[in-house]
C-alpha cells in the first residue's frame, strides 16, 4: 500500500533546474532490516523520492553538497550532509532508529476500546437502544423479550410486578447489574426493571447461565448488565411519547437528557429527567385494573472526571419517585375500595467509582461503592367485596411502611499478561437491610443480609484457538431475618460460607465456527427475595408469603454448550447460534399455598425447600443481514422444566373433600416454547420501518378458584405479540434533528381473555403479553 505514498511524493516533487546530475542510490535499513517506503528528501528543495519495498532508493541530485532528510513512519528522522560526488560509485546506505516514543506508539483512542464479542468465552447477547426503540419500549422491562431464552412477564394485575425469566427460571435466579455492579436490592428487584428509562441505556448485555466467577452466586439463570451511556459530545434531546392502550387508556411520557463534555475530555456530565403517567387499564370491564396506574418522576446526573490519562472518577446520583396503584375505584382513597394495591416509592441512588490503568494498560484497577435508599408507603388491602364493620376496620389498617437500604462496595483488579492470559480478582461487600411493616396484619419483614464475596478468575490462552476461563468465588453470607404475619413468626439466622467453582471454554474450529462450554455452581441462602415481599389479593383477602421453618440453602448446577457460526460473505452477514443448557436445582425455594390458613382468612404461601428440579433446553438464534439497510433476527427456545418428584403447590386442610393437594411435576409459568423475531428496514435516510414480535407458547399457570385458596392448574393458550413502527428522521440543521414515529403494539391483539372478575379475583392470574393492542406516537428532537 505504501508504494503509493512513494508514488505520490515522487510525482509531487517538482524537478529543479538540472545542472549536472548525479544518481544517488542505496538502501535504508534499521537493525539490518530494510525499512520500506522511507522518504528521502533534499533539504531546502522539493526534490525527493521514496524507497521501495526493500528499502532501496535512487535519486538524482546536483553535484554540489546537499543535506538529505530521511523520514519513515515509526522511525526517528535522520538529517545527513552529503557530497554526492563521493557516492558516484558507492551506495549511500542509511540506517534508521525506531522511534519508540513517537507517533506509532500513541494509544489508539477510546473508540477502539471494544471487546470483540467473538473472543469472549461466554456468549454475550447485546441489546442496543435501536432494539428498544423498535419495540417502543419505554422501560427496560419491555425490551428484554427480544433475546433468546429471555422472557419478561407481568405477575400482578394490581401492582404490575414484572420479572425477567432467563432460560425459564424465575427472576430471583437472575442477577441484574447496573454498569457491572449489583446495586439492585431485593426490593428493587420487584419493581426496579420498570424504573430504568431506556434513554439512559447504551446497551444491555445478557449472559445466560452463570458463566463467570465475577457474577454473583445467585446468578444461576444468568446476568443482565445494564450499561449506561458514556458521552463524548455535547448533546441534548427531548422526547415524548403517547401510547393508547386498546386505543383509549393513555400512557404519557416525557424524557429529557443532555450531556456536556469538556474539550479535553477530562470532565463531563449527563443530566436526565423522566416523567411518566399511565392510567389504569381494565380489560374486561369489571371495574378492576388489569394494567396498573403508574406515575414515575426521576431525576439524575452522572458525571466523570479524568485527573490524568490513566484514571477516571465517576459519580452518579438518581432520585426516583414512583407511584403505582391498581384495583378498583382508583379515584377513591384506598380504604373505601374493594381492592387496592398502592405503592409510593421514594428512592435515591448514589454511586461512585474509580478506575486506574497503568501506563502500558496491562493492569486495571477498579473500586466502587453505591448506596440505595428507598422509603415506601404501601397499601395492600380493601373491603374485599364486603361492607361490614370488620371489613372496614381491616381496610383501614392495611397501610404499610417500608424502608430499604442497600450498600455495595468492591474492588476489582485485572492483570493482562504478555502471553495474553488475564487474571481478574476482586472482593465485594453487600449489605441489604429491609424493613417492611403493615401493622394491621401484624406483618413484618425485618431482614438484614451481609454478604462478602471473594473471587478470582484466570483466562488461560494456551493455544491460539483455545481459551479457558477458570474461576471460583468464595461467598460468606450472614442472614438475620424476622418474618411475621398474624400469629406466625419465623426467623432466619444463617452464617454460611460457600465455594462456587465456575469455568468456561472456547474453542475456534475455524474463525467462523466456535464451540463454547461451561459449568457454574451457585447457591441462595434462605431469605426473603423479591417475590416474597410482594403481596397480592385473592378471594377478597390478601395473600402473604412467609419463609418456612428450617429452610435450607438452595444449590444449583448449570451446564451449557453452544456452537456459534458467523459468516460474512461480501456484505451479507449471517450468524447462527445453537445452545444447549441444563440446570439442576437442589432444594429450590418453592412457594406452597397452605390455603386460607391465617386467622383472618387470608391465604398464606410458604417458601419451602421443594423437590429437586431441572430445566433443560435449546436456544437457537439466527441473524441475517443482506445489507446495511436490512436486518433480520429470530430466536426460539425449546425447554423442559421438571421437578424430580411431584411437587405440592397447594396443601389441602381436609375440610372440603373435593379439595385435595395439588401436585405437579412441571415448573409453573414456564412455557416449553417461546421466541422472538425482529426486522429492521432502513427504507431511506429519513424512513425506518421495524417489525418485531414475540411468541409465548402454552404453559401451566396456577389459578385460585375458591375462597379457601384451592388452585387449579390452567393450561394457557399461545400468544404472538407483534409490533410495527415507522420512524421519520429529519435533519433540520447539523445541530438539530427531528424524529417522528408511530405504530401499533400487539397488532393482532393477542392478549389474555380469561381474567377473573370482581373483588374476589385472583390478581396473580395474569400471563402472556403485557398489553392488548395499543397505538403510539412519538416525537424526539435535539442534537443527538
Amino acid at each position: 500500500m505504501f508504494y503509493k505514498i512513494a508514488f505520490l511524493v515522487g510525482i509531487l516533487s517538482f524537478p529543479i533546474q538540472a545542472q549536472e546530475l548525479i544518481s544517488l542510490q542505496g538502501s535504508i535499513t534499521s537493525n539490518n532490516e530494510p525499512v520500506p517506503f522511507a522518504n528521502v528528501v533534499v533539504s531546502g528543495t522539493t526534490k525527493g523520492v521514496a524507497a521501495d519495498l526493500n528499502g532501496f532508493y535512487s535519486l538524482k541530485v546536483p553535484s554540489k553538497p546537499i543535506i538529505l532528510n530521511i523520514q519513515a513512519v515509526g522511525y526517528k528522522s535522520v538529517t545527513k550532509s552529503v557530497d554526492p560526488k563521493e557516492y558516484i560509485e558507492t551506495p549511500l546506505n542509511i540506517s534508521l532508529k525506531p522511534d519508540l516514543l513517537g507517533l506509532e506508539e500513541v494509544v489508539v483512542s477510546a473508540t477502539h476500546n471494544r471487546l470483540s464479542k467473538k473472543k469472549a468465552p461466554v456468549i454475550v447477547n447485546v441489546l442496543s437502544p435501536k432494539l428498544f426503540k423498535a419495540t417502543q419500549s419505554i422501560s427496560l422491562a419491555d425490551g428484554l423479550n427480544y433475546q433468546p431464552g429471555v422472557r419478561v412477564e407481568t405477575n400482578c394485575q394490581n401492582c404490575g410486578f414484572t420479572q425477567v425469566r432467563l432460560n425459564g427460571l424465575g427472576g430471583q435466579y437472575t442477577q441484574v447489574l447496573l454498569n457491572s455492579r449489583p446495586v439492585f436490592s431485593a426490593l428493587n428487584g420487584v419493581y426496579g426493571l420498570e424504573q430504568i428509562p431506556v434513554s439512559l441505556i447504551d446497551r444491555v448485555e445478557v449472559v445466560r447461565s452463570g458463566g463467570s466467577a465475577l457474577f454473583g452466586s445467585s446468578a444461576i439463570a444468568g446476568t443482565i448488565n445494564i450499561i449506561t451511556k458514556e458521552p463524548v459530545n455535547n448533546s441534548w434531546e427531548v422526547n415524548s411519547n403517547l401510547g393508547l392502550i386498546e386505543g383509549t387508556t393513555p400512557d404519557r411520557n416525557l424524557n429529557l437528557n443532555a450531556s456536556l463534555v469538556s474539550e479535553d475530555l477530562t470532565s463531563g456530565v449527563t443530566v436526565y429527567g423522566i416523567y411518566r403517567n399511565r392510567d389504569a387499564y381494565d380489560a374486561n370491564g369489571d371495574g378492576f385494573s388489569e394494567i396498573t396506574k403508574l406515575t414515575n418522576n426521576s431525576l439524575g446526573a452522572k458525571a466523570f472526571y479524568r485527573p490524568d490519562d490513566n484514571s477516571k472518577l465517576g459519580l452518579d446520583l438518581t432520585a426516583i419517585r414512583e407511584y403505582r396503584r391498581g384495583g378498583d375505584r382508583i379515584d377513591l382513597a384506598p380504604q373505601f375500595t374493594d381492592i387496592t394495591e398502592e405503592l409510593d416509592h421514594n428512592s435515591i441512588f448514589a454511586g461512585t467509582d474509580y478506575e486506574y490503568f497503568n501506563d502500558s494498560r496491562t493492569t486495571h484497577f477498579t473500586a466502587y461503592a453505591s448506596v440505595q435508599h428507598t422509603d415506601r408507603d404501601s397499601y395492600y388491602g380493601g373491603l374485599g367485596g364486603g361492607r361490614t364493620r370488620a371489613d372496614s376496620i381491616a381496610a383501614n389498617n392495611a397501610f404499610g411502611k417500608t424502608k430499604d437500604l442497600a450498600f455495595v462496595s468492591g474492588v476489582k483488579f485485572t492483570r493482562n499478561f504478555k502471553n495474553k492470559d488475564v487474571l481478574t480478582s476482586g472482593f465485594e461487600y453487600q449489605l441489604n437491610d429491609t424493613e417492611d411493616a403493615i401493622a394491621g396484619y401484624n406483618r413484618l419483614v425485618d431482614q438484614k443480609v451481609n454478604s462478602f464475596g471473594l473471587y478470582s478468575q484466570y483466562e488461560w490462552k494456551p493455544l491460539e484457538r483455545f481459551t479457558a476461563l477458570l474461576g471460583a468465588r468464595l461467598d460468606h453470607i450472614d442472614v438475620n431475618g424476622l418474618y411475621q404475619i398474624e400469629d406466625i413468626t419465623r426467623t432466619s439466622t444463617i452464617a454460611q460460607t460457600v465455594l462456587s467453582p465456575r469455568f468456561t471454554l472456547l474453542y475456534d474450529f475455524t474463525p467462523d465456527l466456535q464451540f463454547r462450554g461451561g459449568y457454574a455452581r451457585g447457591f441462595r441462602a434462605p431469605q426473603a427475595f423479591n417475590e416474597d415481599l410482594h403481596i397480592s389479593s385473592v378471594g377478597g383477602e390478601q395473600r402473604f408469603v412467609i419463609l418456612s421453618d428450617d429452610l435450607e440453602t438452595e444449590f444449583s448446577n448449570a451446564y451449557t454448550a453452544s456452537l456459534n457460526f458467523n459468516n460474512e460473505f461480501n456484505k451479507v452477514q449471517t450468524s447462527l447460534l445453537v445452545e444447549g443448557f441444563y440446570t439442576t436445582l437442589e432444594n429450590p425455594f418453592t412457594l406452597v399455598s397452605t390455603g386460607n390458613s391465617l386467622p383472618n382468612g387470608s391465604i398464606l404461601e410458604e417458601s419451602r425447600n421443594g423437590s429437586g428440579a431441572y430445566v433443560a433446553g435449546t436456544n437457537i438464534e439466527f441473524n441475517l443481514s443482506p445489507s446495511k439497510a436490512l436486518l433480520f433476527q429470530a430466536g426460539i427456545t425449546w425447554q423442559r422444566s421438571i421437578y424430580d418428584e411431584e411437587q405440592v403447590l397447594f396443601e389441602a386442610n381436609g375440610t372440603n373433600p373435593s379439595e385435595t393437594d395439588v401436585v405437579t411435576n412441571q415448573l409453573v409459568r414456564s412455557p416449553n416454547t417461546y421466541g422472538f423475531f425482529n426486522t429492521n428496514w432502513t427504507v431511506s435516510e429519513a424512513i425506518n420501518i421495524d417489525l418485531t414480535g414475540s411468541y409465548t407458547g402454552t404453559m401451566i399457570a396456577p389459578h385460585v378458584i375458591s375462597e379457601s385458596g384451592f388452585i387449579q392448574l390452567e393450561k394457557t393458550p399461545e400468544f404472538m405479540d407483534v409490533t410495527t413502527k415507522v420512524t421519520w428522521h429529519l435533519d433540520l440543521t447539523k445541530y438539530l434533528h427531528l424524529e417522528l414515529s408511530g405504530g401499533v403494539q400487539n397488532v393482532f391483539n393477542s392478549y389474555q381473555n380469561d381474567f377473573d372478575r370482581g373483588p374476589l379475583r385472583d390478581s396473580n392470574y395474569i400471563y402472556g403479553p403485557n398489553r392488548p393492542r395499543s397505538f403510539f406516537f412519538g416525537i424526539r428532537f435535539g442534537d443527538f
Binding site: M1, K4, L12, N39, V41, L103, T111, V261, E263
Partner: protein, 157 residues
C-alpha cells in the same frame, strides 16, 4: 432545576446555531488541492472522519470551530476533510482512487484514506489527521483525539 436545565439547553442550541455563521475552515476537496499545490505550494492538513466516529464529531465541533485554529489553518495550510467511507471516485495527482473495500465490505474504507491513514500491524482507526509539509511529504500523523491547543502546537511545527 429542570427549568434551569431547559434554559441551558436552549441557550446551548442557539449558540450551536449561531456557530454556523461564524468563520469556518476553508475546506478544499482533493481535486482543488491538486491544482492549488501546483499553483502555490503550502503545508497541507488532512482530516479523515466517519459518521459513526464520536471523537471525529467532537473535533469537528469543538476544535475546528476554535477561531485560533481556523485562522492558523486558513493562513498557513491547505485543508482537506474526507469521509473515510465515501464511495466517490477521487482524482488526485493524476491518479484515480476508489473505495474498493466498499464493494465487498460494510463500512469499507476508501483507498485514499487507507493509503494515508494505515499503520503496520494495526487496523485502520479513526480519527486520522495527516500533516504534510510544503513538498507534500508526510510530516506527522495523529491517530487520536486532540484539543485546540494540542492541534495548534502541531500546526506550529
Amino acid at each position: 432545576m429542570m427549568k434551569k436545565s431547559i434554559i441551558l439547553f436552549l441557550f446551548l442550541s442557539c449558540e450551536s446555531l449561531a456557530a454556523q455563521d461564524r468563520e469556518q475552515i476553508n475546506w478544499l476537496i482533493w481535486e482543488e488541492l491538486d491544482s492549488a499545490l501546483v499553483t502555490k505550494p503550502k503545508k497541507t492538513f488532512v482530516f479523515f472522519h466517519a459518521d459513526w466516529c464520536a471523537y471525529c464529531k467532537k473535533i469537528d465541533r469543538v476544535v475546528f470551530t476554535n477561531p485560533q485554529v481556523i485562522k492558523k489553518i486558513n493562513t498557513e495550510y491547505y485543508a482537506v476533510r474526507m469521509d473515510s467511507e465515501t464511495t466517490d471516485t477521487i482524482r488526485f495527482d493524476g491518479q484515480k482512487f476508489t473505495n474498493r473495500q466498499a464493494l465487498t465490505k460494510r463500512n469499507g474504507v476508501h483507498d485514499l484514506a487507507l493509503l494515508l491513514g494505515s499503520r503496520p500491524g494495526k487496523s485502520y482507526s479513526l480519527p486520522v489527521t495527516v500533516f504534510f509539509d510544503e513538498q507534500f511529504a508526510i510530516k506527522q500523523r495523529v491517530f487520536e483525539y486532540y484539543t485546540s491547543s494540542e492541534l495548534l502546537k502541531i500546526l506550529e511545527q
